[in-house]
């Protein structure tokens, strides 16, 4: 017997020969289990991410097998490591090049808040320049913590309304970062 697990069906109406659910949930299910992460790794959190991607922790179990090194094809921006102020415009440009829908994960203390680098040259958290969906604490976080953060992203993706990105709240959020 194979012990391969497959993703369960979303809530819906089932009958003989048919299954009905909302488009939101079907799309969310598909997106959540085929996220293409873009690793933006600048320091030690990036090393933890390498462990997360490797066979022992194996992030590909969650459908994130395919890392996208092009922002245009990526769904999830994973920022791992200290972002210097000189790097901030680069990170922002990478975010702008990603197509909607896009999610952002700040991995580790530095990406989330600047960490121990409370100094003139370091950005005090990437949420000063781009909106962040999930913060993963730790310095650096263990691969388990990165996976936990990733599963929170998956949960967001699954439950996101198809119209969220057109909502005035979302436009307002982007406008507060000076995007669009």
């Amino acid at each position: 017997m194979s012990d391969i697990q497959i993703v369960g069906a979303p809530p819906g109406v089932e009958g003989a020969g048919f299954f009905a659910t909302s488009l939101d949930q079907a799309v969310g299910l598909a997106r959540a289990n085929s996220l293409w992460p873009l690793p933006f790794a600048t320091s030690c959190c990036g090393i933890e991410f390498m462990a997360t991607m490797a066979s022992h922790y194996d992030l590909s179990r969650f459908g994130a097998e395919r890392l996208s090194f092009s922002p245009r094809q990526a769904d999830l921006l994973m920022v791992m490591g200290t972002i210097a102020k000189k790097m901030a415009p680069v990170l922002r440009q990478v975010y702008l090049q990603m197509a909607e829908p896009r999610w952002v994960m700040a991995v580790g203390a530095c990406a989330s808040s600047g960490g121990i680098f409370d100094t003139y040259s370091v950005l005090q958290g990437i949420d000063e320049i781009i909106p962040v969906d999930v913060y993963v604490p730790g310095c650096p976080p263990r691969p388990e913590a990165i996976i936990d953060g990733f599963m929170h992203i998956q949960e967001l993706v699954k439950t996101e309304s198809l119209r969220r990105r057109d909502s005035p709240e979302y436009q307002k959020l982007l406008a507060s970062y000076g995007i669009q």
Partner: protein, 167 residues
Amino acid sequence: MSKITNEELLNSINSKFEGKITVVGEPFGMLTIETGTDGIIELLSYLKNDPVLQFIYLTDITAVHYPEQEKAIGVLYHLHSLVNNVRIRIKVFIDAVDCHIPTATVLWNGANWMERETYDLFGVIFDGHPDLRRILNVDDMTAFPMRKEFPLEDPNRVDKKDYFFGR
């Protein structure tokens, strides 16, 4: 072992620059002298081109800020004579507001980035430098962050506010 002693080195310098330099000391056996902005390039040029001394290698140019001094910015040159296995440190003190010193790029091309870094962090203006702009920090930074009056901590930091710690 170095081939020439600090005493011989100092005598050689004094034979040409008597009265223009003062000896600061020899911390850890490294001769340290002080001079002014007028003669610094002449002195560096002599040290580099003298057939005996041959200080051909410029190890570093940096600066130190002493806010309590009248001449608050000290520019430091570290030279290394690879042939004689001896090093020397040269200090030049300049005013913190009128922060000018001649460039050493006329002698070493390697001085280019060292002087850009010193300008970036301390605001020392190297007259005659071919391309004196910031090298490490963001281009639109207005302060010189290694000066003592500049606060080390980023003012945008929110998670270190006192009320998070019951203060």
